[in-house]
């Protein structure tokens, strides 16, 4: 197993910056190292030089690199209690109060686990046509895989268990077809989703969003970058818009750049307050 030193990691970050103007300097070091080592195993690269060489010489590889670097959500319907809360408490009133489409943004999509879970929830509630979902990814490859519905079948067992705990109205198997190593989820579920690529610094973030589902993505950033991204998230939300983070992530609270009140502490749901 490769074991990259800090000097190696800095070299890789420098190469990514100079070659692709993409700055990973504020990613959390330990998980970034893990991801790089995983990519090296995946592509049979024995050293940091090997990885840097491949990044410099194969321009097509960069997009794949971004896809493999990003960490997908663990499985579908992670934390079933959140999904139950969304169905029973949150969406009924949120949708009723909204004139026009209710805008939802999922900033860090990799495998589409969160996106398809949300789409299934909305479909079972019969409110799919009341929302507009925007899904953003670091790479084209992630977008393509999500659009094809492709999903790692090793994650199916826990996803099924989660769906049962969510008390969905059907069986999860109603929403996919199994293939060999991959399952294919029903793509009509996401036919109205808008896909976009997003930069590492979220430069092109959308605006006037009512709900941002952003779970377990900020854990891969260091505190400096977390603050930067939280500010962007805050600015992206419409007044009284909601943010949902992972349950063990930084609690946004109040700072110079944002002001969030806690709506559901157990499930890490926050609401944007306007500075007074």
């Amino acid at each position: 197993m490769p074991d990259l030193g800090i000097v190696d990691i800095r070299e890789i970050i420098r190469a990514l910056k100079s070659e692709y103007n993409c700055d990973f300097g504020n990613y959390a070091l330990t998980s970034f190292k893990q991801r790089l080592e995983r990519i090296m195993i995946l592509f049979n690269l024995g050293s940091a030089e090997g990885l840097i060489g491949k990044l410099r010489s194969e321009k097509d590889f960069f997009d794949t690199f971004l896809h493999e670097l990003a960490v997908p959500a663990t499985e579908m319907f992670r934390d079933p209690s959140l999904w139950r809360w969304l169905r029973e408490e949150f969406f009924p009133s949120a949708i009723n109060k909204t004139i026009g489409k209710y805008k939802i943004w999922l900033p860090g999509c990799v495998s589409g686990a969160e996106l398809y879970s949300l789409a299934i929830l909305l479909s079972e509630m019969g409110i799919s046509d009341r929302v507009h979902i925007m899904a953003t990814c670091l790479s084209d490859k992630s977008i393509e895989l999500i659009k094809n519905g492709c999903y790692d079948s090793r994650k199916l067992e826990v996803s099924e268990e989660n769906y049962k705990r969510f008390n969905g109205t059907r069986e999860l198997s109603a929403y996919y077809k199994a293939d060999r190593n991959c399952i294919f989820r029903n793509t009509p579920l996401i036919e109205n989703v808008e896909f976009r690529k997003l930069t590492v610094d979220f430069d092109n973030a959308p605006l006037n969003i009512k709900l941002i589902l952003f779970r377990n993505c900020m854990i891969y950033l260091n505190p400096t970058q977390q603050d930067k991204i939280l500010k962007v998230i805050y600015d992206s939300l419409s007044p009284s818009g909601y943010l949902i983070t992972g349950i063990r992530e930084k609690v946004p609270g109040i700072s110079a750049g944002w002001d969030f009140e806690t709506i559901n502490e157990t499930e890490s749901v926050y609401r944007k307050r306007i500075f007074s």
Binding site: A28, L29, T30, S31, Q34, R35, V71, A73, T74, R78, D79, P80, V158, E161, N162, R165, N216, M218, I219, Y220, N222, P223, Q226, G246, I247, R248, E249, K250, V251
Partner: protein, 186 residues
């Protein structure tokens, strides 16, 4: 202070041992105690409360990037890997399971060994799979102290025996000896 942290890994049969250790450490224990124990992915609450009952030091499930403090125990949260970052911070991760486990003992031990080098004490307790063996090896290779609970005393021996196969550990200790060792840390 010679050491910077203690890290303990365990699975089936380790709960009673961890409880006894936490019950024996003084409130003024001079190091942070990192606990990576296998647990059900979907049960988020109850474990930290159960461990807290008899512990003299506060036991908590850390938030991402939380700063580690002495005299506190940090339990890896359900369905997250718990990494140790440089600069004494916890970092959580939702990466793939390792040895079917998330939290993975190997990942917690390897990242702690990278952060603390020879200033780390790693302890593997009773458990039913091989997780932790690679991690303890890294603790040892980086110059830290590698301790394994005496398999003769373990409810399930697989984890300790796997660790012993991979590494010439510093000590094979009973629970009492582990406690005595920790109490001598000044």
């Amino acid at each position: 202070m010679i050491y910077k942290a203690v890290i303990i890994g365990g699975s089936a049969g380790s709960f009673q041992v961890v409880t006894r250790i936490l019950n024996s450490l003084p409130r003024t224990f001079p190091l942070p105690v990192l606990l990576c124990l296998h647990r059900l992915k979907h049960v988020r609450s109850g474990f930290v409360e159960a461990l807290s009952l008899k512990s003299n030091i506060p036991v908590e499930e850390p938030h991402d990037k939380e700063l580690l403090k002495s005299g506190r125990a940090y339990l890896a949260p359900a369905n997250y890997h718990m990494y140790i970052e440089l600069a004494n911070r916890i970092a959580l991760s939702t990466e793939d399971t390792v040895n079917h486990s998330r939290p993975s003992i190997d990942l917690s031990f390897i990242t702690a060994a990278n952060a603390y080098r020879e200033k780390l004490i790693g302890i593997i307790l009773s458990g039913a799979n091989r997780d932790g063996a690679l991690g303890l090896k890294r603790v040892h290779d980086n110059g830290g102290i590698a301790i394994v609970q005496d398999p003769a005393e373990c409810e399930v021996k697989t984890m300790t025996q796997s660790a012993l196969q991979l590494t010439r550990v510093d000590c094979v200790y009973t629970t009492d000896q582990i406690i005595n060792f920790l109490l001598k840390i000044k």
